[in-house]
């Protein structure tokens, strides 16, 4: 797909959005107040609130979401990566947060460039980030600074490439020759230069 055809869902939804009549959601308001220009955009589409923030501000935004008394997003429900091949920046991380107290939900979107597919890990804020980030590394090749053990989780240790990328053929297989010990070989499947461990 060419650049002009691939639109961020947020932009497309924003155009159809008539949220001017509705009050701004608490999360959007507070994050904008706290982070200022780090909040690139917000959108309310199909009943979901999505907030796009700058990569550098991810941890502070997440901390704000978790700790602010009016937000209290105590659940990190999901961490997913999307590959928008043909668009710059190529990757997008989507963090799905949920508040048990207020029963509200938000999706934080972070754009990640292809040349430097790195983002801070949220494991210090929510332990739940552990395996979800490993999966994003495994299937999309995004590295997480500060993750204690960023190794492949779903595919095997001898797998080459990142399977969910759009330029990875769906049926291209890599064979596994043997089983790996999880303690002595616990870095099998880690990023090649180990740049993620902090």
């Amino acid at each position: 797909m060419s650049d002009s055809e691939v639109k961020s869902g947020l932009e497309a939804a924003g155009e159809a959005d008539e949220a001017a009549a509705l009050p701004e959601p608490v999360t959007a308001r507070l994050l904008k107040a706290e982070l200022g220009t780090a909040v690139i955009g917000t959108s309310m589409a199909f009943g979901d609130l999505a907030i796009q923030i700058r990569r550098e501000a991810l941890v502070s935004a997440a901390r704000q979401c978790r700790d602010h008394p009016e937000l209290q997003y105590d659940y990190l429900m999901d961490v997913g990566a999307v590959d928008h091949l043909g668009r710059t920046p190529r990757f997008e991380m989507v963090y799905n947060l949920y508040s048990l107290r207020f029963r509200h939900r938000v999706r934080l979107h972070v754009q990640i460039p292809e040349e430097d597919p790195t983002v801070d890990s949220l494991i210090d804020l929510w332990s739940a980030a552990d395996w979800f980030e490993r999966e994003a590394w495994d299937l999309m090749g995004i590295r997480f600074r500060g993750h204690p053990r960023l190794v492949r989780i779903l595919t095997h240790a001898e797998f080459v490439g990142h399977a969910l990328r759009k330029d990875y053929h769906p049926a291209e297989r890599h064979r596994l020759s043997r089983t790996y010990d999880l303690f002595t070989e616990d870095q099998a499947g880690a990023p090649p230069d180990g740049a993620s461990s902090g």
């Binding site: 332990s127 989780i153 969910l164 010990d181």
Partner: protein
């Protein structure tokens, strides 16, 4: 890492490395736990999954929106209907379509039957691992009868593919409602009573279950636990009540919450959930509305075969839908349902074409199982088996 090296370098070390799985009777599903033991106690462990990674998300990108439905069945294969409902609900959210009330009620009934089946597997296999094999036979017997009901609806016992985007594949066969009532009043009720009598006041099960595999409430939330495991730790969250879908708000039922956070508490929560599911099914059967089971929109659902054979507009609509597919608007949406293990979410990115651009599944077992290494520390090896069985880890959902 050093602990295993120290064991390998010093044969006289009191520590031992034991590998559990991926082929092991107690791992219900293929995952692997490598433990460092000191005597019978676990000092450190590493869990590895991915032994059933069947590339669901990549397959979703290469198939049509409705072509993904059979793949969703194989996520949590013990309660396969719920996965399909979750996926179709998300696509319907993206399309902005509301399905007919009869379809909603039938989806609810079959989801709750699937939930009963899932919990029966969990309890049966959890207890068989503790040596109580009678529970396995007793728990699996009503599953056969429920399978018969599902087979009557859609032809398949386990992987149903009964949902369609916009509703259901077909209506219930005649007499199904009565059969269903009979099943839940006779077979399921009997099984629940038997399991209750066998286990709830069983001193051996209590000794093996109480205080074992405890997960505190705050840690459960930090790890992202939802579903019966979280509710056993005191987290009062259920998608069906808090974010209702398909008419759950019109039924009267309760959410069991325990505070022990141990194996026994999870068992109690699942038993009570099954009873509440029976309540929901009874009410849904009583209130089952008439009407179509699939939406009337020709951009989403195929016209009925009779019309396709006799009416030119229906034939054209059929042709167009098959050739061009369902074309939702571009956008991103997150839809969620209460799966057998917790919040099952689907995050779908659509680029306006007939195939989804990205489908990300939020699997409830994934969040639950990543806490396992933390839970295992200091535990006896026998308790590992008890805990693992109580978490109901389904590898299809875990690895996708």
């Amino acid at each position: 890492m050093t602990s295993t090296l120290e064991i390998l370098n010093q044969p006289q070390s009191p520590r031992m490395v034991v590998n559990i799985g991926p082929q092991h009777p107690a791992t219900h599903g293929t995952f692997r736990i490598e433990c460092v033991l000191e005597g019978e106690r676990i000092v450190e462990s590493r869990t590895e999954i991915g032994y059933l990674h069947r590339c669901f998300e990549k397959m979703s990108e290469t198939h049509d929106y409705w072509g993904v439905i059979p793949y969703t069945d194989r996520l949590n294969y013990c309660s396969s209907m719920i996965n399909g409902v979750g996926y179709c609900l998300t696509v319907e959210k993206l399309l902005g379509c509301t399905i007919p009330p009869r379809a909603q009620a039938i989806r609810v009934i079959l989801s709750e039957l699937s939930r009963i089946m899932d919990h029966l597997v969990c309890i049966g296999t959890n207890l068989v691992d503790l040596g109580a094999i009678t529970n396995f036979w007793y728990a699996f017997r009503p599953r056969e009868v429920i399978y018969d009901l599902l087979e009557a609806c859609c032809g398949s016992r386990l992987t149903v593919s009964y949902v369609r985007i916009g509703g259901l594949q077909d209506d219930l066969p005649p007499g199904w409602v009565e059969r269903c009532r009979k099943v839940i009043r006779k077979d399921v009720a009997r099984a629940l009573l038997d399991l209750e009598k066998l286990n709830t006041r069983n001193p051996i099960f209590k000794l093996r279950g109480q205080g074992v595999g405890v997960m505190a409430r705050e840690r459960a939330i930090a790890w992202g636990w939802t579903g019966p495991c979280a509710r056993a730790s005191g987290v009062d969250y259920d998608v069906r009540r808090d974010h209702p879908y398909h008419g759950y708000e019109q039924y009267e039922w309760q959410i069991p919450v325990e505070h022990g956070g141990d194996v026994f508490a999870r068992y109690l929560v699942r038993m009570e959930e099954m009873r509440q599911s029976v309540r929901i099914i009874e009410q849904a059967l009583d209130q089952l509305p008439d009407g179509p089971v699939i939406v009337d929109d020709r951009r989403i659902a195929l016209p009925p075969k009779q019309e396709v054979y006799t009416n030119i507009e229906a034939l054209m609509a059929h042709f167009k839908l098959i050739m061009h597919g369902i074309l939702p608007p571009p956008g991103e949406v997150y839809g969620l349902v209460e799966g057998g293990n917790g919040e099952l979410g689907f995050y779908i990115v659509s680029d306006g074409t007939r195939k989804p651009y990205r489908v990300k599944v939020r699997p409830p077992c994934f969040a639950v199982f990543q806490a396992f290494d933390e839970m295992l520390r200091g535990m006896l090896l026998a308790d590992v088996v008890a805990t693992l069985g109580s978490l109901n880890i389904i590898a299809g959902e875990l690895d996708r």
